[in-house]
């Protein structure tokens, strides 16, 4: 009997925590679904009288082009990041050379720095390259600062491909590209999924680079537009809430569908705990 009661208590606690973590989503949803007439702060927790999509429509029309900007930035940046990470990880595990560990260490440090310490030179450089204020400027930025983490994830992933396999191919005279194409790349799919999800989520969610590199509202990604919306006194709070949900939706969908791979990226980001 005591065992059964402790199990019930255990599940109760787990469910209470779940409710706590989901509470913000509940508020986002019920607020977004209320008609403009019902959105009073005092009634924040009440269910909507019916399904009204006014807030979502208004938030979407305000964020629409910025969501497009986010996609235009995130897709090329993610693809290039994956390719670079895969090549670097391959070289650093299967073609190690004297000093490669030191270089890896120097790469990793780039993952932890506060980006504030590169922001002023970054802006000056992007201006000189005439990509400041453009989505390409952001793509370049995200690709470069993504190199450490993408390299790390691929390196840890490729460490599990038996080196004997690669060594045997080397003795058979296969070239570095041949080995990559025939042995390493075909085994890489899960690694690519982990890195792609990681980069997609991080770049989509980035705010610091977006707000410093793009000042023109028509170019800005969704995070910046949402922040501007939240800082404005003209936009109603229910529209802000609907906007927050819309801006979070792409990464939330990725998380729900491919959560397993998201967790793997997370663990890789924590080095080897």
């Amino acid at each position: 009997m005591t065992i059964r009661w402790s199990r019930i208590a255990l599940y109760t606690v787990l469910i209470l925590f779940a409710v706590l973590y989901l509470m913000p989503i509940y508020v986002l949803l019920v607020t977004g679904l209320k008609s403009f007439g019902e959105v009073r702060l005092e009634q924040m927790w009440d269910l909507p009288s019916g399904l009204h999509f006014d807030s979502f429509k208004e938030a979407y029309s305000a964020l629409d082009s910025n969501l497009g900007n986010s996609f235009k930035m995130v897709i090329p940046a993610t693809v290039i990041s994956c390719m670079l990470g895969s090549i670097n990880g391959y070289v650093l595990t299967k073609w190690r050379f004297p000093g490669s560990d030191v270089l890896f260490f120097l790469l990793l440090y780039g993952m932890f720095i506060p980006y504030q310490s590169v922001l002023i030179p970054l802006v000056k450089t992007l201006q000189a390259l005439h990509v400041y204020g453009s989505l390409w400027g952001l793509v370049v930025t995200h690709v470069v600062y993504g190199i450490p983490i993408t390299t790390l994830i691929f390196r840890n992933y490729y460490a599990n491909i038996p080196t004997e396999l690669v060594e045997a191919a080397k003795i058979d005279g296969a070239s570095i590209f041949g080995i990559y194409r025939r042995i390493v790349f075909p085994l890489s799919l899960p690694g690519f999924v982990v890195v792609a999800i990681w980069q997609f989520t991080n770049i989509w969610n980035d705010f610091l680079f977006a707000v410093t590199v793009t000042s023109n509202p028509s170019i800005q990604p969704a995070t910046v537009a949402l922040n501007n919306m939240a800082g404005s006194f003209i936009v109603e709070w229910n529209v802000q809430m609907a906007g927050a949900l819309i801006a979070a939706l792409p990464t939330l969908i990725v998380y729900v569908v491919l959560g397993r791979f998201f967790v793997r990226g997370l663990m890789a980001g924590a080095l080897r705990g």
Partner: protein, 333 residues
């Protein structure tokens, strides 16, 4: 003879392949070399310059900007806020993460669902988190009016709008004790806790605690069940098992979590920006926000760069030893 030539050819081939390998990662190394190390050097140069307007001016002024900074009233508050935020945020995430992991490590039906729910906030941006929690912790809404739903009175916490700083008053008994111990300077608002910061901690913990849970869960799973089983056989209580077996074995996980959360909290920006900005009397101001406003809104680039260098030094002091430690550990495995 024949073997010798083909052997040499093999060696030559291998060297050229090795050269190709190096060539493949050179673009990445150059990019990181310039964008990370080059730019840090450049920022350092700006931080000791006179560049205080839109026009670059690299006249050397030594450490003047840093001296200004540490005397600056706002920066002193920022340091206090960062320390308070870091300590509370890391402690809350570790505590909550460990509790959740321990609860989930008991053969739970639907473990995957619970785990996904606790972890999903990690997938959304700090901006989204900030917008949502700004309304959840608004003084006349959200959490404050929740008790009304069950017939109780509303709360009147100010949350992030509360300007109160809790500190030891010099004329209190504790203040006098500190004074007697030669620590009288601690009885000062600069060593207090800005209550508004707690709201930011709550939002940040909601977002990041799931990450710590995942790390601890992986750590707990790596502890052989027999170890705990044996202790149980010997009559050890669950508490003693956690205290003397799980926690010591989880120490590397705890360390990793502290470093990762700690370095994030030292550079926190987005969440504060979308939730409370500076807050009342700079109660939720942080160095990253000060840096951003100084550089890109005030054009005081040399001072902005100085703030960023201080942030870099703080983060590096935390991260570099950790990087050494984890790469060494990896090499030993």
């Amino acid at each position: 003879m024949g073997i010798g030539t083909s052997g040499r050819r093999l060696v030559r081939r291998a060297t050229s392949e090795q050269a190709a390998a190096v060539a493949l990662i050179i673009p990445s190394l150059v990019a990181v070399g310039v964008f990370v190390y080059g730019f840090i050097g450049w920022s350092a140069l700006v931080s000791v310059s006179e560049w205080d307007t839109l026009r670059p001016d690299y006249t050397y002024v030594g450490l003047d900007n840093f001296r200004d900074l540490f005397r600056n009233f706002r920066f002193q508050i920022d340091i206090r806020n960062t320390v308070v935020f870091t300590v509370l945020f890391v402690a809350a995430c570790l505590g909550l993460g460990f509790v959740l992991a321990s609860l989930l490590d008991r053969h739970i039906v639907g473990e995957g669902i619970f785990r996904s729910i606790y972890l999903f906030p990690m997938a959304v941006s700090f901006i989204v988190t900030g917008v949502v929690w700004r309304w959840l912790l608004a003084p006349r809404a959200g959490v404050n009016i929740l008790p009304e739903k069950v017939g109780l009175g509303a709360l009147d916490y100010g949350w992030y709008t509360d300007p109160t700083v809790t500190y030891v008053h010099a004329d209190s008994r504790l203040g006098e004790a500190l004074h007697a111990a030669g620590l009288g300077f601690l009885a000062d608002p600069n060593y207090g806790i800005p209550l508004a910061m707690i709201s930011v901690v709550i939002a940040a913990t909601w977002q990041m605690s799931g990450f710590v849970m995942v790390m601890y869960l992986a750590g707990l799973r790596a502890i052989p069940e027999e170890l705990r089983e044996a202790a149980r056989m010997d009559g050890a209580s669950e508490f003693r098992i956690v205290r003397h077996i799980s926690l010591p074995l989880l120490r590397p996980v705890t360390l990793s979590a502290i470093i990762i959360l700690g370095h994030q909290s030292l550079k926190i920006f987005d969440l504060v920006m979308s939730m409370s900005r500076r807050g009342p009397g700079f109660a939720t101001d942080v160095p990253a926000l000060f840096m951003f406003e100084t550089s890109f809104q005030g054009n005081h680039f040399s001072h902005g760069a100085a703030i960023s260098i201080v942030m870099l030094v703080a983060v590096s002091a935390l991260v570099i030893p950790y990087l050494f430690w984890s790469l060494r550990r990896e090499a030993r495995l």
